[in-house]
């Protein structure tokens, strides 16, 4: 079991979701985050104040999967999230110690397998 964390552009979030559904990855959480990954800063001006926006909006996917689904999940994140420009984001894969499905008490692989799969 792994936790796959993908940080992508907000405007690509829908494409990533679509790719994940196609790869039959169903359990997904996402949150809006801000980050900086080496992309060129945007310059914005409000009256006399000019600022460089050092942080960009990103969307963070968190997907807990069984080992067989790690590669398909990574592929979906890459396919859906890539534009080729700096700032497309990163994927982190970390081991999972334990997973519990709250409704049934199922644990580990059974808990990360979608209902009905």
């Amino acid at each position: 079991m792994k936790l796959v964390i993908g940080i992508v552009r907000p405007e690509k979030a829908n494409d990533v979701l679509e790719a994940l559904y196609r790869a039959e990855v169903r359990g997904v959480s996402l949150s809006r985050v801000q980050g900086h990954g080496g992309e060129l800063d945007r310059v914005e001006t409000y009256r006399g104040t000019t600022v460089k926006m050092g942080l960009s909006d990103k969307v963070r996917f968190e997907i807990a999967v069984s080992d067989d689904f790690v590669q398909p999940t990574i592929d979906a994140l890459c396919d859906g999230g890539r534009t080729g420009e700096v700032g497309d984001g990163k994927i982190f894969v970390v081991p999972l110690e334990r997973v519990v499905r709250i409704r049934t008490g199922e644990t580990d692989n059974r808990a990360v397998t979608p209902v009905g799969a």
């Binding site: 900086h36 800063d41 460089k52 050092g54």
Partner: protein, 428 residues
């Protein structure tokens, strides 16, 4: 008849002009609420820029082409750059000529802003400015001449109280052409593109209704009976349209929606725009209720097509204006308007002239707008790049965000230039 200024009329028209002008920012708010959260500033700016562009083109040549003389198709250039537009009233009017010009300018401005609803979220701001300037002269001024200024429709006998021809059909059918030439947003039909702030939508629509009392109530140019009738009908017709819309919403989706209500306010105001000073209050209520149906049908049908006429200007203005113009042909009443009866009261000729207007205005606005945008498109790109469109038009067109938090923003002092600020995120 010697021209004589009436102070009461003039006072009302000064207020009415300001009321109509505020409709354009109100429309900006309405439109801004309907787009996604990355585009409200650009959407609002398209409306604000219509004031900048439209007021100037109107003073330069638009007013003259619309209101100088009684040429069949277009007016003259006698009033170009406001030549001879002074404090003396126009023939048979009781307000200063200058005020009449300013009042009419606010109509031109609003109509230009209306079309932006068809192309929001992807049209380049620069290309929009160029289009807006040319459209205000080539389409609006010509249609205003036909309907108000002494052109073939008004001289023939078409009744159009406040702009069913130039404003409503002019914007609605131009919007359809603009949507076709500029093309759909890249995510259209693939993703749900939802309004990001429905409170803005309701607030904008309500403020538009408020301004509409000056739009319709001022279009008699006096404080006389036609103005009072139009003013009152501007309350009754949208109210009836709201009730009808509630019913249609409830039948279709079992719930009465807020964005639907905002749309109904606009549709109701548009329906009564041409008819305001010509039909009885009872018929105004009937118009609001019956006119909701065709507009509702088009609003439900349009998103199932490939035409991304984004904010449904065609349905809310084109179809509603068309309906209102035809309605006059049936239900106008001489004992209310002192001018003419419709078919129901024995005057079939009125219906003929209303039908002619309802055919000519859509054809002219669609064809000329289509050609105009094709030509502008040869000179400059009409659309933002796909990348810019996906990042959002606020940041890419204006370098601002509607909802900037300031988190991660590094102050750039003007004299230091923007070469080497320290990114705060890296210090962690």
């Amino acid at each position: 008849m010697p021209a004589q200024i009436d102070t009461g009329d003039t006072a009302w028209m000064l207020v009415a002009t300001a009321l109509v002008l505020v409709m354009t920012p109100a429309l900006g708010l309405f439109y801004a609420g309907l787009v996604r959260g990355k585009n409200p500033l650009n959407t609002f700016m398209m409306c604000i820029s219509a004031i900048a562009v439209g007021a100037i083109t109107w003073a330069a040549v638009g007013y003259s082409l619309a209101f100088d003389g009684t040429g069949d198709l277009v007016g003259g250039l006698g009033h170009a750059f406001l030549k001879d537009v002074t404090f003396e009233p126009r023939d048979e009017m009781t307000i200063p000529h200058l005020l009449f010009m300013a009042y009419q300018a606010t109509f031109c401005i609003l109509t230009v802003a209306l079309i932006s609803g068809a192309v929001v979220e992807r049209m380049r701001f620069g290309a929009w400015l160029v289009f807006a300037a040319l459209w205000s002269v080539l389409v609006y001024a010509v249609l205003a001449h036909w309907g108000f200024g002494g052109g073939w429709l008004i001289e023939g006998g078409t009744l159009d109280f406040a702009g069913g021809i130039a404003v409503e059909m002019g914007s609605g059918f131009s919007a359809l052409a603009a949507a076709l030439v500029v093309g759909a947003r890249k995510d259209y039909g693939r993703q749900a593109l939802l309004p990001h702030n429905s409170v803005f939508v309701l607030l904008g629509a309500s403020l538009l209704w408020f301004g509409w009392f000056g739009f319709n109530g001022g279009s008699g140019f006096t404080t006389g009976q036609n103005s009072v009738l139009a003013f009152t009908n501007t309350m009754l017709c949208p109210a009836a349209c709201l009730l009808a819309w509630f019913a249609l919403d409830a039948i279709r989706g079992r719930k009465v929606t807020a964005v639907g209500a905002a749309t109904a306010i606009i549709v109701g105001c548009v329906l009564i725009t041409p008819a305001g000073g010509f039909v009885s209050p009872g018929w105004a209520i009937a118009l609001g209720a019956a006119g909701a149906l065709p507009c509702y049908a088009v609003i439900v049908w349009r998103p199932r097509t490939r035409v991304d006429e984004t904010l449904d200007v065609l349905a809310a203005h084109g179809i509603a204006g068309f309906t209102g113009i035809l309605f006059i042909g049936f239900f106008a009443q001489q004992n209310w308007n002192a001018i003419s009866d419709g078919l129901l009261y024995g005057n079939a000729t009125q219906l003929k002239w209303q039908a002619l207007a309802a055919l000519a205005a859509p054809v002219y606005s669609f064809v000329v707008t289509f050609a105009l945008l094709k030509v502008v498109g040869l000179v400059m790109p009409l659309r933002a790049t796909e990348l810019d469109e996906s990042i959002g038009m606020d940041v890419t067109q204006h370098g601002e965000e509607a909802y900037a938090s300031g988190e991660g923003a590094i102050l750039v002092s003007p004299e230091a230039g923007i070469e080497e600020p320290v990114p705060v995120a890296d210090s962690a």
